[in-house]
Symmetry: C2
Subunit: 519 residues, 2 copies
């Protein structure tokens, strides 16, 4: 199984079809194939050999897609970096991975130069933007123009295809190693479950560095469809691209979907090409979903849940379960069922499967499971047991195979020996009309070990007291799960690169100087 074989096939079955559209550029599958084989040659000339890591720090573009295929075509491994990282995080990851080459675009040229000084192994910077090439960098188009196409280096199967740094919510980034097989099997299975067909047009509105968008590189190439890209998500740029290029498929994380729904441009945009909007990577509220269903009555919605370690999709909630009434209602709060290339087990800490309905660690097995963490054999051994990836998410499975997420295991509040899942408490709070959003954390309690603390953002103009909210929760969930304390804030919550609330950050002031047992 080779990532690049999918590209060759796409160029064989749809040679003149449009492969990528970006800004005022577009190219056919034949051209993309040729440029990839030449970029691979250029990277080899720059010293990329077997398994070498080539990093990229860039907004979305057609060149991102070329980079994806060219690194592995030439025998290297890709390493797309989180565009929200501070330079120090980039430096850490580049040193950890031992990357020799880094590509940066216009948005990151300054950061690139700053980083280089602190990464001794980094030999070459390539500028893949459209502006003036900065001093000390090679120009992407220049090196491509003089390079010869090279034969595929032939890496495949369990060979390393890329390192994807993750760990936004839980401290130091870890490099997830994914293989050719991970991408290949994940891609071919996702293409089916995402209802993609020959020639599907997909809009890369979410950041490409994030594996939730990156998976579409494979899925769309498997059907020789069209990749449309905008540099970065804004509701207006997204809507403009939808109108101009008529994509049928779109991935949005919930906060993006919400912004699109609130955009004043929405009503004047022709969105009739849209057939499916996939969402995931963070929880969505019923309110956003209802609004989305109303606004896009002809669009199917699909939820995907997973993590980088799973390449990344583990469960899918199919469009037919996106209903509030009827036989299939009641699953909308779940993350869906295992994809066709996953087995899922809810296990206790000894890896013993729990009965249906009991909450435990969500564990996933299948050809989409990562090779391990780069340079971290101990963490790898903790996370990958007997072929199972222990996701670190707590949840249960119902009798029909639907997985209900309760919490990150590390974000669970253990109060008086009882496990309290913050998602459940946040859910209860969200049913109060004044609450816009909330984050529930465990804070130290001499009596209970931890006690349930809620940080709440109210709707503009709305009013509520802590007592009112606590009383409301008592009408919805068991007493031991209800917040013992409530604070209000107006600033948005700190978010990870994947738009997850950084609960470590929220907990910090409370735990300063103390050890939290699960941290």
């Amino acid at each position: 199984m080779q990532i690049t074989s999918v590209l060759r096939r796409a160029a064989q079955v749809n040679p003149t079809g449009t492969a990528t559209i970006f800004a005022d550029r577009q190219q056919s599958w034949t051209t993309l194939l040729d440029r990839v084989a030449r970029l691979a040659g250029a990277l080899q000339k720059l010293g990329m050999t077997e398994g070498d890591r080539v990093a990229l720090l860039s907004l979305n573009s057609d060149r991102f897609i070329e980079y994806f295929f060219a690194t592995v075509w030439g025998g290297g491994a890709m390493m797309p970096m989180n565009i929200r990282w501070a330079p120090a995080e980039c430096v850490y990851a580049l040193n950890d991975a031992g990357a020799k080459i880094l590509l940066v675009d216009d948005a990151f040229q300054a950061v690139g130069a700053e980083i280089k000084a602190q990464v001794p192994g980094l030999e070459t910077l390539v500028f893949c933007g459209d502006g003036e090439t900065p001093d000390g960098m090679l120009n992407y188009e220049d090196i491509l123009a003089v390079a010869d196409p090279v034969p595929d280096a032939g890496r495949s199967g369990d060979d390393l295809a890329g390192i994807f740094y993750t760990g936004g919510t839980t401290g130091f980034p870890k490099g997830v190693m994914l293989s050719h097989t991970n991408f290949y099997v994940g891609g071919v299975a996702n293409a089916h479950e995402l209802m993609i067909r020959d020639g599907t047009i997909y809009l890369h509105a979410a950041p490409m560095f994030h594996i939730a968008d990156l998976l579409w590189f494979m899925a769309i190439t498997f059907v020789a469809g069209t990749h449309v890209a905008i540099p970065a998500f804004t509701p207006d740029a997204t809507l403009q691209a939808v109108q101009a290029h008529r994509p049928s498929h779109l991935l949005l994380v919930p906060v993006m979907l919400q912004m699109v729904l609130q955009s004043p441009k929405l009503d004047e945009t022709d969105t009739s090409s849209l057939e499916l909007i996939a969402y995931g990577a963070s929880p969505i509220t019923e309110g956003v979903l209802r609004e989305a269903f109303d606004r896009f009555p002809n669009v199917e919605f699909l939820q995907a849940f997973g993590q980088t370690e799973l390449s990344p999709v583990a469960t899918i909630l199919a469009p037919d379960y996106h209903v509030f009434e009827g036989k299939k209602a009641g699953k909308l709060r779940s993350a869906g069922r295992p994809t066709r290339v996953c087995e899922i087990m809810i296990a206790d800490d000894d890896m013993t499967e729990l009965p249906r309905g009991e909450i435990g660690n969500i564990c996933v097995k299948g050809p989409i499971c990562m090779l391990g963490y780069w340079n971290k054999p101990e963490v790898t051994a903790e996370t990958l047991r007997d072929g199972w990836v222990i996701t670190g998410d707590a949840g249960y499975m119902d009798d029909e195979g639907f997985v209900f997420l309760m919490d990150r295991v590390k974000d669970m509040v253990i109060s008086g020996g009882e496990n309290v899942y913050s998602a459940e408490v946040e859910n209860a709070l969200s049913q109060h009309p004044a609450v816009a959003t909330s984050a529930v954390i465990g804070i130290p309690s001499d009596q209970w070990g931890e006690s349930v603390h809620a940080i709440v953002i109210l709707h503009p103009e709305a009013k509520a007291t802590p007592e009112e909210l606590m009383a409301h929760c008592h009408t919805v969930i068991a007493g031991y799960k209800c917040p013992r304390s409530v604070e209000f804030r107006t600033d948005p919550f700190p978010l990870s690169g994947a738009n997850k609330v950084l609960k470590t950050e929220l907990r910090k002031p409370f735990w300063d100087g103390r050890d939290r047992q699960i941290s």
Copy 2:
């Protein structure tokens, strides 16, 4: 990648859904999973250890499906045998593969007993039919009833999953070794391209031993659909099952499709559940297709081409190319385009890729390529080169990636140094109104090496002379391709188990005592 993981997932997401329907039996995915784990235990008790071959000679049944999963669950390898074989061929294959256990049903109990005497390594016969258990055989349900479910033996990836004897058209059977990965990737990709969705109901009307039907074991299990089986194809049994169980998907080889179309029962059968009829394994005439389109206006038709060595699908002609008019017309004579998990190369004898439009060897690469031939390293080395399976079929690829089959390389006529593809000549003959079907072969010629000879079956009541047919061909194809001699016959052509015309048989009387260079 594990064949059995797909079964476990199916039981997880659709536990109470119907997995198999056969005669008056039906069972849920939960029951099937349990029976498979117990049958695996029973086979282990009978001595099946790591990689051991367990053969089966049986008509279609639900137990065939249990056998498929249980052999690999228990760590063995399956070996379903061609039900059209003579006992001598079965004996050859069983001895070649070293099978220790053989399952036989009612239809093959006598043959089973006969075979056993000639296969010294064969220790156990299991009777998987519904009649009285013959002497000297164990009963399938009895051994299952007393067996405990065993844990999955854990074989996966490149481990041998089964041996599939093939070679009907070219002499001695060869055992094609297929792996867990072959079935897994083939299944997940086919499920998408065969337009299968969650819960699809498939009717096993074609013989299960044939890999063209066997691939649906995986594809339907990937979507936790329903397997409906009839013991053996007859048009009436097929139509009856369509009406009773309302399958949406059906695979028929062309001769079966023709028989269904000619059945007097067709008009009184409710076929409204049918959505897709897949066909393949042998050429189809335009006449049959036109009749099928007329009769099933709401059904999609899809052609698959491949061979056992490719697990088995290499190309698919999608439903939208099943048209005689419009932009997509003109592809109907092709075998379609490479599936999403194949690369195809048309190569000369040195494995150099030929330009589009030139005829050469069709070579296929991808995770569906066999491990090799059992016990035949030389033939394996000839067939598998640098990861490419050399199919032995001659053909060309057009500019849009469609593959046009010309001939089995071995059935090509080499006349005066020119290659003549029998398919092209047969095609020309079929356009004469009197011709029902024809087979074109090369016969010895002192002048040309070989000369083109046509054996023709006329429509009942129709009349034509050899001269007329030869003259007709001259109006359609180049002179050197036209038959130099024509003979008429009324008996049907000898067919292989896969319904291919056995041209070796037809050539035999002409070549008796002579060497044919390509044979």
